[in-house]
Symmetry: C2
Subunit: 436 residues, 2 copies
């Protein structure tokens, strides 16, 4: 192809060069391992779908869907999230599933959003969902999964839990229609960013009555450990008919969480959590950094009992969580939490000339067969230059094998950490690495 | 969203349900491990590029590129292969690289090709390339990498090697222009499918002279072990001026391969291998099943010294190989070579009722912490039904913990293989699994 006239990347899209990519892969692997230990199985779906599958599913965000007409004039769209494809999969193949269906999916999604710091048009989501399970066990497992992932990644976290029923009770207490209630909740959801006063002012500006803003004020003041929150909610909302079952759930769930010795710092009831009221039907949760909640949610989810249906139209109770890798990664980077990686190259073989190529290849193959990453330098340039490159590549070991070594049937192994060199019998090379 | 009116998948696109996806992941992981042992580092690039980066790069196949105008009226295109993005990356960031740059990339590519058996519009490629390295070492490493992948996957393979220079010498011997030469080579490339007679007939139909078809006939008859092929080529082509250096390369390379004790069954010189004459500039290779070459190539590549340039326009000698996961997977499936997988669920916990939920969760967490995949069944339905599901999920162990066990502080561990049940002290549960 020769030189590309204008080599550039679309705004909101990213190249991942090896240094970053290796860390990303390590984070993805760590999350995958936890998903699998919780019994979630991997699934994948196409990056392109018939557009009608995706459109009308995302409300006003529909304008962010990458849709186009392909060469066969089919109206197609790029994957916008991993939930709608999950719904399609359950509808198409669910007849052969053993529910509950626990699947995870890790993949790119595309949104024609305004790109900005930490906001991409192509980004990776890592979702785990349980479909066809309305049990409290599923709710509990989702919270435990969330906690386990945070622990595995070494993040000081707090899972903040609320329920749709608590928010519905608040709306009923305020005497609002569902429509006005959604507006109210949308302001409450901004509590982390704009604070108590901000929420009240916004409600006032929207024309909510003094009676309503007073109730909301009391609601926002409910805080403390899980028992405190439950009794605070009870005090404010016990007069509301729908609150009775909401309270029973909170008490049962609180008891389970306490039984499992999950501390207040790890999991708290937070009445201000209010993600997607048009979406979630039960438990709602999000996870923030304990030391910096303002960074925003790094893992969130909830129960959605009306999104997914079988082929016959039966609604499948479901619960899921989603992790945006890009935000999580940025957070881990900024808190210096990226995992330690093993060296990209364990052993760097200095090249003393073409006459040794077969020897170098043989040595490399032997060390690769015991799991080491080995690079033979491509050209017999000056040793100092090759050493410099081995250093840049952070290879912990450098091997030297030239005329003297060949005659003696030894190889020189240099540790780049200690600077120490040792002669190893060529036939004992693997042993010498296995005992390191 | 409720029920999707027409749940369906675009032709040429695939859903991967867990059973297949787990095998795919195992194959991908195995290949990744080998790439990394050979010192290749992971890289990723966006699935969408500015269209001008991709267009004009694929000759007549350009019509297969998925291109469209996005919401900002940018002309964009979906990734068609992983090589052009590699070229873009080198051009944009190469100034900071230490060449040779060894990277691998595993990702989907999209081609608006006619879908058919084994031909998809969305498929996964796994590429490894060395950029900025014109050494014979790089050529050798690529063949060794290819061999190592086949060994790792348990495939009985044959790597078939040729060079651009041999084909150029044949064209010169036939006294053809480069243009007619490309036509000739295109027919030779069909040898596997249409045989010697087929190639000759096709050349006759294209109007090639008797002199040419006679030379090609002799060329196609060259076979046997590597030395035989080299001497056969020498006999036929030694009068051609360009053949001298081609012969020197073949002899040197043959010696290296022999030095490494690579058998004729594993790697052979095959003058009929002729992939992309507009692309490859040196070594060309492809790998077929030893027992069924007609299945086609499952790993192929070669040296391309003119595709990739730096920002200043310098051409970077490169060599790479590419594996199409979908074809490889289909092949492994049909030869019954898919790797053994560990169980998706190691331990299935029977649910005796909500009063034990916290216990089940605690038990599951303890076993997960020692690396086991654990599912707690969601509902306390009849034990026989839960056992049946554990069986369908192929869980090797089922745990039972109800009233009696709670009183005794034990748990019943049932091996689904032997049918044997044993009571284990609850506090010794991890030990009992660690010693299995």
């Amino acid at each position: 192809m020769g030189k590309i006239a204008q080599a550039r990347v679309l705004a909101g899209f990213q190249d991942f060069l090896p240094e970053k990519m290796r860390f990303r892969n390590a984070v993805i692997s760590a999350v995958k391992v936890v998903y699998e230990r919780f019994g979630f199985l991997p699934q994948d779906t196409p990056c392109l779908e018939y557009a009608d599958i995706l459109l009308d599913k995302y409300g006003e965000n529909q304008k962010l869907v990458y849709d186009f007409h392909d060469k066969g004039e089919r109206h197609v769209a790029m994957r916008y999230d991993l939930t709608v494809p999950l719904g399609r999969v359950v509808q198409m193949y669910g007849g052969a599933f053993n529910f509950p269906y626990r699947r995870y999916q890790i993949g790119m999604v595309w949104r024609a959003d305004k790109p900005g710091k930490g906001r991409y048009r192509e980004f990776m989501q890592m979702d785990a969902d349980i479909v066809g399970d309305n049990s409290m066990l599923a709710d509990l497992e989702m919270i435990l999964l969330n906690i386990e992932i945070m622990k595995t990644l070494g993040i000081r976290y707090r899972v903040r839990v609320n329920t749709r029923q608590v928010l519905d009770s608040l709306i009923e207490k305020c005497g609002l229609s569902q429509e006005k209630g959604v507006e109210l909740v949308r302001s409450i959801d901004k509590f982390d960013k704009i604070g108590r006063q901000g929420v009240i002012r916004e409600l006032e500006a929207q024309g909510f009555s003094l009676a309503v803003t007073e109730i909301v004020g009391e609601y926002l003041d409910i805080e403390g450990d899980r028992d405190n929150v439950v009794s605070g909610l009870e005090k404010l909302l016990s007069s509301v008919s729908s609150f009775k079952s909401a309270l029973a759930y909170l008490r049962d769930f609180s008891k389970l969480i306490a039984d499992l010795q999950i501390e207040r710092t790890q999991c708290i009831f937070d009445p201000t959590i209010a993600r997607g009221l048009d979406y979630y039907t039960g438990l709602i949760f999000e996870t923030t950094f304990l030391d910096d909640p303002a960074f925003g949610s790094i893992c969130s989810g909830g129960r959605y009992d009306r999104l997914i249906t079988t082929a016959s139209g039966e609604e499948m109770s479901s619960i899921g969580l989603s992790i945006g890798l890009d935000r999580l990664f940025a957070a881990m980077e900024s808190f210096d939490l990226l995992p330690a990686l093993r060296p990209a190259i364990d052993v760097f073989i200095i090249n003393f000339g073409d006459m040794y190529l077969a020897d170098y290849a043989r040595i490399a193959l032997r060390l690769r067969s015991i799991g080491l990453s080995v690079e033979i330098f491509s050209k017999p340039v000056k040793i100092a230059k090759q050493m410099k490159i081995a250093n840049i590549k952070k290879a912990p070991y450098v091997l030297m094998y030239g005329g003297d070594e060949a005659a003696e049937k030894v190889i020189v192994v240099k540790s780049m950490m200690s600077g120490k060199q040792e002669k190893v019998l060529l036939e004992r090379l693997e042993d010498s690495f296995l005992s390191k």
